[in-house]
Symmetry: none
Subunit: 147 residues, 2 copies
Amino acid sequence: MSKVAQQNSTPAISVIHTQAHASGLQQVPQLVPAGPGGGGKAVPPSKQSKKSSPMDRNSDEYRQRRERNNMAVKKSRLKSKQKAQDTLQRVNQLKEENERLEAKIKLLTKELSVLKDLFLEHAHNLADNVQPGGTDSPATTPDNTGQ
Amino acid sequence: MSKVAQQNSTPAISVIHTQAHASGLQQVPQLVPAGPGGGGKAVPPSKQSKKSSPMDRNSDEYRQRRERNNMAVKKSRLKSKQKAQDTLQRVNQLKEENERLEAKIKLLTKELSVLKDLFLEHAHNLADNVQPGGTDSPATTPDNTGQ
DNA sequence: TATAATTGCGCAATGA
DNA sequence: CTCATTGCGCAATTAT
């Protein structure tokens, strides 16, 4: 449980990896040695291009992509949490409905029981007052003892 | 899903985050300077104590704590995922049971219906065999045994 | 006080 | 290529 009272890193982000770190350990990855365009030829639709380079962390491109990804991540995680919460809610909903259904079953069962009893009573009355050659079917006792 | 074979973590401390993490850079509130409170005098059990040093990332203590925390984080997340999965499973379970219950209700309802019909039939038979005028229920043959 | 558990966040690899 | 997911580590906070 946590109400979370974080008010720390708000704008910080930008300051974070602006470039070097206080620690001075900002080991900047070696830059691209010869670069792909060594000869000035850009290989348009093929491999062997921007990959294999450490890519400058200072690059504007880089920062931009990072920021975008960060947004995406945030979004995704939010969505994820939402979904989880929904699922949880669904559980409660189902539990409720479950109880409702069970109550209904109980009711129906009782009703059935009553009717059956009435039936039996009637059958007995008939048997007692009516002579053989009766009319209807007295032994219609559909029993249900399943599930 | 990703099988990703990251180069870090698992194996005990490697060359990875010896200092400047090639990857997980993070800002370091490297402040050590002037003590916080202008005075330096404060309540006994209060500020001004530990967090004064940047804490060497090289420190053995540091690395050890990091590793422990990483384990804890991993564990916690695993647990979290497990819980989520369980919840999802629960939903399915509940859904199944719900269907089962609904089926039962349907059955009971039908049974009830049948019994009621039988009752009605019976009532009609009685009505046919008895002189007209005897509507259904309320007609409890008023009569006059007296005269 | 120390330690473990959570949580927000950014990074990078990978999936779509 | 861009966006979405996901595993992972860091650090701050909270719970034990």
